[in-house]
């Protein structure tokens, strides 16, 4: 298999086209601009559609339209743009529409900065908009994993008829790594619910259920889907975890730093390991069934995923937290120190 060097954002775009995506809609925002730029060059050659939308609000609604017409469609953005997409995402969930949205997270709140961050964790996992909303959230930690998760994102999205979010960060989007790209697949035919013209009886894609009993039935059916996803789609990676007396939980770029820190403290005789959630929603609670004495959560945010870890452990062991915010990425030495402190019982706070 040929390995080539690619930037995360470009690998993501190429992998989407190879996964049969034929419609991309986006609005410029750093640190994901290489995605629309790549799509503008390559999507037309693949026979697909590229539109630079007037806003992220328009972009997500274009995804709504294209996806509802039965075509694999996606958008990409970063924090401020993701906020604008949440109304549209809620409508897509209410209307049971698939679609993939990439959030290359940057520092917030507000305009914040363009440095890498994981500060949108609550936003992507606690509901993708108003109402009882959820979508599957995938968190790659290497450029190769971005490429591997792209077809998975489209397949899950279509299987459950819900949007899928890929939560990356500025480092993953910008870094170059060697990747092996999969062979391109042909886009699937439009599903029978797609609005392609009423040759038989008309199809309607809508999120409205005016009668409370009807809406309750609809939301309960969504909740059954959420439950099925929780039971079937949890993904995580365990690294040196089997004999660990302290387990560190981290995802994405933070997990890369933690992996180095684990190796460091292991070399000094401390049995540490890493649990790396790949699905942020559903949170991989199964990974927390066996608990060592101590846990530590490392985030590029101010203490968000740590809540899910504490819920998963429900008081079975103390959970420390080490986070850096504002686009600051901790060094392996800093995290190694945090792991050692966690073992002696101190809870380190940034």
């Amino acid at each position: 298999m040929k390995r080539i060097l690619m930037k995360g954002n470009e690998a993501l775009a190429e992998a989407a086209i190879r996964a049969g995506c034929r419609a991309y809609f986006g609005y410029p925002i750093t640190p994901q601009n290489e995605v629309p730029e790549y799509m503008a060059r390559h999507m037309p050659r693949a026979g697909g559609v590229f539109v630079q939308a007037e806003s992220e609000i328009a972009a997500i609604n274009m995804v709504h339209g294209a996806s509802g017409a039965g075509v694999r469609a996606m958008a990409s953005t970063s924090g401020p743009g993701f906020s604008l997409m949440t109304e549209g995402l809620s409508y897509m969930i209410g209307s049971r529409l698939p679609g993939v949205v990439v959030n290359v997270m940057r520092g917030g709140p507000g305009l914040g900065n363009i440095a890498p961050s994981q500060g949108d964790y609550f936003q992507v996992t606690r509901g993708l908009g108003h109402g009882d909303t959820h979508g599957i959230v995938l968190a790659p930690s290497t450029v190769q994993e971005i490429v591997d998760l792209m077809p998975v994102a489209f397949e899950l999205s279509e299987r459950y008829r819900l949007p899928v979010v890929i939560a990356a960060d500025g480092i993953l989007g910008q870094m170059m790594e060697p990747v092996t790209l999969p062979e391109p697949i042909a886009p699937p035919p439009p599903p029978d619910w797609a609005t392609t013209g009423a040759v038989g009886s008309p199809r309607v894609i809508s999120s409205i259920y005016l009668a409370p009993e009807d809406l309750e039935r609809h939301v309960l059916s969504l909740m059954r889907t959420y439950q099925e996803i929780r039971e079937r789609e949890q993904r995580w990676e365990a690294y040196r975890a089997d004999d660990a007396e302290v387990l560190v939980v981290a995802y994405g770029t933070a997990a890369r730093v933690v992996r180095s820190a684990v190796d460091r403290v292991r070399a000094q005789g401390l049995a540490a390991g890493l649990i790396r959630p790949i699905t942020l929603w559903p949170f991989p609670t199964t990974a927390f069934e066996r608990s060592p004495r101590r846990w530590l959560v490392v985030e590029l945010s101010a203490g968000q995923m740590v809540e899910d870890v504490r819920l998963a452990l429900s008081g079975r062991a103390p959970v420390g937290f080490h986070g850096r915010v504002g686009g600051v990425v901790p060094s392996p030495a800093e995290v190694a120190e945090a792991i050692r402190s966690a073992v002696v019982g101190e809870v380190v706070r940034a």
Binding site: A23, M62, G88, T196, G197, V204, S206
Partner: protein, 253 residues
């Protein structure tokens, strides 16, 4: 004798035979019929996809026998863009109220027009927010009382009525722009031609076609149906002049 009878009118094929939920005297129903007639006369029912907006007409998909997507408030032109770009041989139209198109959805309609999206826009202007109970719209006439302009729309505070088709007609991507009313049989006849022309602009791949239709909202105007029609004639038509503002099939335009 029966064989001498000529059919002068019947329910259009694309209009579903169910009672409409609109208030008595509301002209949304008349406009639905005009859209159904255009779809029938152009023979496009099986390849038409409608985009419903948020407003009293949100349930238009129950009345027209075509595929529909229901868009968030104001975003119908973006949803329509997504559909039309991936299915360029289909006919895509939006049906939007004045709050939807001229307030919350101004960016979406303006940029769909700027891109020259091959879509048709049916824009229903009743000078008020119907669904939410009669608040001021961007198209509310100056001095007009609504629940959020209880002393009459004060131009100094709230601006004057926004004339949207004039704005859009100036954009290169727009191939057809017209404003008509549905207040009399003669006007309905002109409106029918305009709706069809707005579909033709799309079908002939010339650009975006838009028709603004002056419509009544007797309930929120607090007028009986017949008086509402007279009020529209007397007050709305002077503020929103009727006619074709742009038609790229005409030479000299």
């Amino acid at each position: 004798m029966i064989k001498d009878m000529v059919e002068v009118t019947s329910r259009p094929r694309s209009l579903v035979d169910v009672p409409l939920h609109y208030c008595p005297g509301c002209t949304h129903g008349t406009i639905h019929r005009l859209v159904a007639e255009a779809i029938d006369s152009l023979g496009i029912r099986e390849r038409t996809i409608g985009v419903a907006s948020v407003g009293c007409s949100v349930f238009i998909y129950n009345y027209l026998d075509v595929d529909f997507q229901q868009a968030p408030h104001g975003r119908a032109p973006a949803v329509a863009t997504g559909i039309k770009r991936v299915l360029p041989d289909r006919v895509v139209f939006t049906y939007q109220g004045d709050g939807d198109l001229a307030s919350i959805g101004t960016a979406e309609i303006l940029h769909a027009a700027a891109r020259g999206e091959r879509i048709t826009v049916i824009f229903v202007n009743n000078a008020i927010y119907g669904m939410t109970g009669g608040q001021m719209a961007p198209t509310t006439l100056s001095g007009m009382k609504t629940t959020t302009s209880p002393y009459g729309r004060d131009v100094r505070q709230a601006g004057g009525a926004l004339r949207v088709v004039e704005l859009l007609a100036g954009i290169d991507g727009v191939a057809y722009a017209a404003r008509e009313a549905v207040t009399s049989p003669a006007r309905i006849h002109r409106a029918r031609r305009a709706v069809e022309a707005a579909f033709r602009a799309q079908i002939e791949d010339r650009g975006l076609g838009i028709v603004e239709l002056l419509s009544t909202c007797p309930v929120n105007w607090k007028l009986p149906p017949v008086e509402a029609v007279a009020w529209c004639e007397a007050n709305m038509i002077p503020a929103f002049p009727l006619g074709v503002l742009k038609d790229t099939t005409r030479s000299g335009d």
